[in-house]
């Protein structure tokens, strides 16, 4: 598979449209998640209040971010967790590979973590001589396949059971056909790794400042395994993941699983505070928390765009986005996709790479309408377009605006066009009007008719 990049978003999105298998998979997956979520939310009394409280918990955390991070550090340290700060991806990688080396880690197991993808951690660990195993089934599959995840909740949703069977046979020499068989093979293969692992690395769903705890949410049990069996646990968090209190965390837990997968609660929620207690026989003996900036502090300074930091990664906006429903996650070229992904990628990656992203949106607002935290994606999308427009002008828009500012010239232009090419057979085909030619390939253009003004004037003349 050719490597996808954010810069090539436009081309990648067009290619995705032509992939009929992908289109079918995405249609099925997005409808599946929407149906489950919809049923769950309809049966959720007080939904509006719960959503509002979750939003307040997130925004409150952002409004007090530096103080909460200090409180988190104090309380986590008091519980025995070693807290590290990383300004950027390179620093984070260095810290984590340092911990791995100090622990003599040869086998590393990982829970699904967008932040570790963001910082490209796996290659760094591998370069340092460790075997790294993704343990979430979907992530395990895409890791074996050498591909990036295609959906925030179901990373391997683009792969059929036949694809997976082939993959397991080729890469693991394990043979199975049915989905339960394949799942059992993965369980057996990965259990070996959990038991042999020297180090478990996870992300964090929330970090609670009040207690110094990390909260991890999952369905499979691989995160519990990664934090129970290996002697060392490293939790990696981007700094906006902190919440003030256990109450806030509980308010978020009330909403997050329903919004993500339509479950009242995910199968496992782990609240971890420090290494194993004295006299306990399992759990990590050594726990680390890596707090990563990687561009968030800059975003926090922007009064409009900072709302993107409130996101708690439920993925609901992806499933209702008509663009995501059509092109899937890979086309975005990075770890974050869909509406929130467009926003985050635009804010975290260099501007030159992300100029097209905010324009790959119809501004339909389905994302905003569905977001339990009421993040106003379209408003943020517009702010990003304004930022992009400072560097370049859209010539079509500028020409249209020039005419629109001068009504006589505007009417003259329209009148001429109507006289010369009323069916718009020729004008859209003129060079220098990018996209118009493709547009009329698939849409019969509208006719330039006698204007409303002229008709209305005639009609009024006819009246007493």
């Amino acid at each position: 598979m050719r490597e996808m990049t954010t810069r090539n978003f436009r081309r990648q999105s067009a290619e995705a449209c032509r992939d009929t298998n992908l289109r079918a998979v995405l249609d099925h997956a997005t409808r599946y998640f929407q149906a489950k979520r919809g049923a769950s939310l309809e049966a959720f009394p007080g939904r509006g209040e719960h959503f509002a409280r979750a939003r307040a918990a997130r925004l409150n955390a952002l409004s007090r971010l530096p103080d909460l991070l200090e409180e988190l550090e104090t309380n986590a340290s008091a519980a025995g967790t070693q807290v590290h700060w990383a300004a950027d991806a390179a620093q984070a990688r260095a810290i984590i590979t340092g911990i791995a080396s100090a622990a003599g880690a040869r086998v590393v197991v990982k829970g699904k973590s967008m932040i570790t993808e963001e910082i490209a951690l796996n290659p760094a660990l591998q370069a340092a001589g460790a075997e790294v195993w993704e343990t979430d089934l979907g992530e395990f599959i895409v890791q074996l396949a050498g591909e990036p995840p295609s959906h925030i909740i179901a990373p391997a949703v683009h792969k059929s059971r036949e694809d997976v069977a082939k993959l397991f046979a080729e890469k693991l020499n394990l043979h199975g056909q049915s989905i339960p068989e394949l799942t059992l093979l993965a369980r057996q293969a990965l259990r070996e790794k959990f038991l042999a692992a020297d180090l478990g690395i996870t992300g964090v769903n929330m970090a609670v400042a009040e207690t110094g705890s990390v909260i991890l949410v999952e369905n499979e049990g691989n995160i519990r395994m990664s934090t129970t069996c290996p002697p060392v646990h490293v939790a990696v968090m981007s700094l906006e993941k902190v919440v003030a209190s256990l109450e806030d965390a509980a308010d978020i837990l009330r909403v997050l699983p329903r919004s993500a997968t339509g479950q009242k609660m995910s199968s496992y929620v782990s609240v971890l505070t420090g290494p194993r207690g004295q006299g306990e026989t399992d759990g990590a003996r050594e726990t680390h928390l890596v707090i990563l900036d990687n561009g968030r502090s800059e975003i926090l300074a922007d009064p409009v765009l900072r709302e993107a930091l409130a996101c708690f990664r439920c993925g609901a906006c992806l499933n209702v986005c008509p663009v995501y429903q059509t092109i899937g996650g890979h086309a975005y070229g990075w770890v974050y996709s869909g509406p929130i992904g467009t926003l985050l990628t635009s804010l975290l990656q260099p501007r030159a790479e992300t100029r097209d992203l905010p324009f790959g949106c119809t501004l339909c607002g389905a994302c905003k309408r569905t977001c339990p935290l009421s993040i106003d994606h379209p408003k943020l999308m517009m702010a990003l377009r304004q930022r992009a427009a400072k560097g370049r002008t859209n010539r079509f828009g500028a020409a249209h605006s020039l005419l629109a500012r001068h009504p006589l010239a505007y009417r003259l232009a329209v009148g001429t066009a109507r006289a010369v090419d009323p069916n718009l057979d020729l004008l859209p085909r003129l060079p220098g009007l990018p996209g118009l030619s493709e547009f009329v390939d698939s849409r019969h253009p509208p006719e330039l008719k006698k204007s409303f003004t002229a008709r209305h004037r005639t009609a009024k003349k006819g009246k007493p």
């Binding site: 979430d136 700094l239 496992y268 290494p275 004295q278 306990e280 026989t281």
Partner: protein, 216 residues
């Protein structure tokens, strides 16, 4: 140093553009635990394929455990110690070999795990288990068959009661226990073709025994 640079940057950003947060509405009242609590729990566990059996005495509970062990064709088990000593479980499971916890490798192939829940949230069917000496995490994680005993007094409305639960199990210093697991059904995934499969990395089956008597 990164820490100070990061904190300064955050403070500067917020100083330039303060973020005010609207006061949210109050939390909707929890549905209180009523006389039909076991029925409520059974109903919410059912779609998760978790069966609730009620016991009126410790002996009945032990009998249920023996029944489950037979159903699951278990040959070996692990259990929490003092918490479950009073149930006569070892006698009820005399045909099975009990494995002591230790590192996870010791329990890699154990068939059945038994724990006592510190709380059960009726809204979601979630069981809270708090790790401590003699209360190993692996007991509810490694074996493919998991059994949780839930005292009547442990029933709570919903996850909004989690903070109080953690406070109750915290040290005098206020430090939280090292691990609380909130368990809702068996381990599951739909990562392959969105087809639900139970028992990926955690237990594939979960059975709940409700201890239907009042504690002193």
């Amino acid at each position: 140093m990164s820490r100070n640079a990061i904190l300064s940057a955050l403070r500067a950003g917020l100083a330039a553009a303060p973020l005010t947060v609207e006061t949210p509405p109050g939390r909707p009242a929890s549905t209180p635990v009523g006389p039909d609590a076991w029925a409520v729990l059974a109903a919410v566990l059912e779609p998760l394929e978790v069966r609730l059996r009620l016991a009126r005495t410790p002996a009945e509970a032990a009998q249920h455990v023996a029944d489950i062990a037979r159903e699951r064709a278990a040959k070996t088990y692990t259990r929490w110690d003092t918490a479950l000593d009073a149930f006569g479980l070892d006698a009820a499971l005399a045909d099975l070999a009990r494995l002591e916890p230790g590192c996870c490798r010791n329990l890699a192939h154990v068939d059945l795990g038994l724990v006592l829940a510190q709380a059960a949230f009726l809204e979601s069917g979630s069981l809270a288990v708090v790790a401590a000496p003699g209360r190993h995490r692996a007991a509810s994680l490694l074996p493919p068959a998991s059994v949780a005993l839930v005292p009547k007094g442990a029933l709570r409305p919903d996850v909004s009661h989690l903070p109080a639960l953690l406070a109750r199990h915290s040290a005098a210093s206020g430090r939280l226990p090292a691990c609380l697991n909130l368990i809702t059904g068996p381990s599951s995934t739909a990562d392959i073709e969105l087809v639900l499969v139970r028992g990926v990395h955690g237990p594939g089956t979960l059975d709940v025994i409700g201890l239907d008597w009042d504690e002193e």
